[in-house]
Amino acid sequence: MQWIWIDRFTEFRRGEFARAVKELSLTDELFADHFPGYPVMPAALMLEGLAQTGGMLVGEANDYREKVVLAKIAKVKFHGEALAGDELTYEATVLYVREEGAAVGGKVFANGRELGEAELTFAHIDSARMPQELGDRNFVFTGRLKPLMESIAKLQAAH
């Protein structure tokens, strides 16, 4: 299974704001088990989608040099659910980007209806701190994310 929970970015303002969408389809593998007869998107995966939207937003702010890792979710609230057939929208707004890390405020919508919100903190795991464990390679922004990085670049070029 691919661990990318965003289809594409639809808005991107460097260091400020990003909006991404994910179309939920009944053919998505996860709905076979979650749950048969009631294809509901797990809230934990919506958080992952939000973290990916926010993570790319803060990663791009430093030209993808930092290893941006989700480290803390101080607040999260879901007050609705999304089913197969819905379009999820993730919105992330930068709260801060510092040398040590970053945080975003995020919202999730299903077909325009707000489903939940969260505050996510990311750590910049720089190689200076743990070189022996992590190596120099940036394992966060790899080829896997290339299509998304390109979609961001296109939005910025069009802007």
Binding site: K72, R98, G101
Partner: protein, 131 residues
């Protein structure tokens, strides 16, 4: 100008939000790690919330220094902070109360320096204009 009590109240609110603890647990002498369960990422979160709450700038490593001693044998010997190391601490963290720590300056006890009171004193220093 905020009074010390008002600063403490705001620091307390900040810690309740950042660490998800009960307000009654946030006493002046409570240690962030030991008593309030803070982990390394929480320090970043606390710094951000303090900046927002008080409208101050906290440069990296000023409130929560990452490595003061850098394994320097002149500053730490046999797991204890030397007299020179204590001077270094005083210079880097003038807002820390070292009275208790000095009696048994084991490196492993350094975390206990970071109390609610320390943050309150730090913020107070930031809010007081330089003479």
């Amino acid at each position: 100008m905020l009074t010390q009590d008002e600063i403490f109240q705001k620091v307390s609110t900040t810690l309740v939000e950042a660490l998800n603890v009960d307000e009654t647990e946030v006493k002046p002498g409570a240690t962030l790690q030991g008593d309030l369960g803070a982990e390394s990422i929480d320090f970043l979160d606390i710094v951000f919330r303090l900046e927002r709450e008080f409208g101050i700038k906290i440069p990296r490593g000023e409130l929560f220094p990452e490595s003061i001693f850098q394994g320097d044998p002149e500053l730490v010997q046999n797991g204890k902070v030397t007299a020179k190391g204590l001077d270094e601490l005083r210079a880097k963290m003038p807002f820390a109360d070292l009275t208790t720590f000095e009696t048994n300056p084991e490196l492993s006890r350094m975390g206990d320096l970071f109390t609610v009171e320390l943050i309150t004193r730090y913020v107070q220093g930031k809010l007081t204009p330089d003479p």
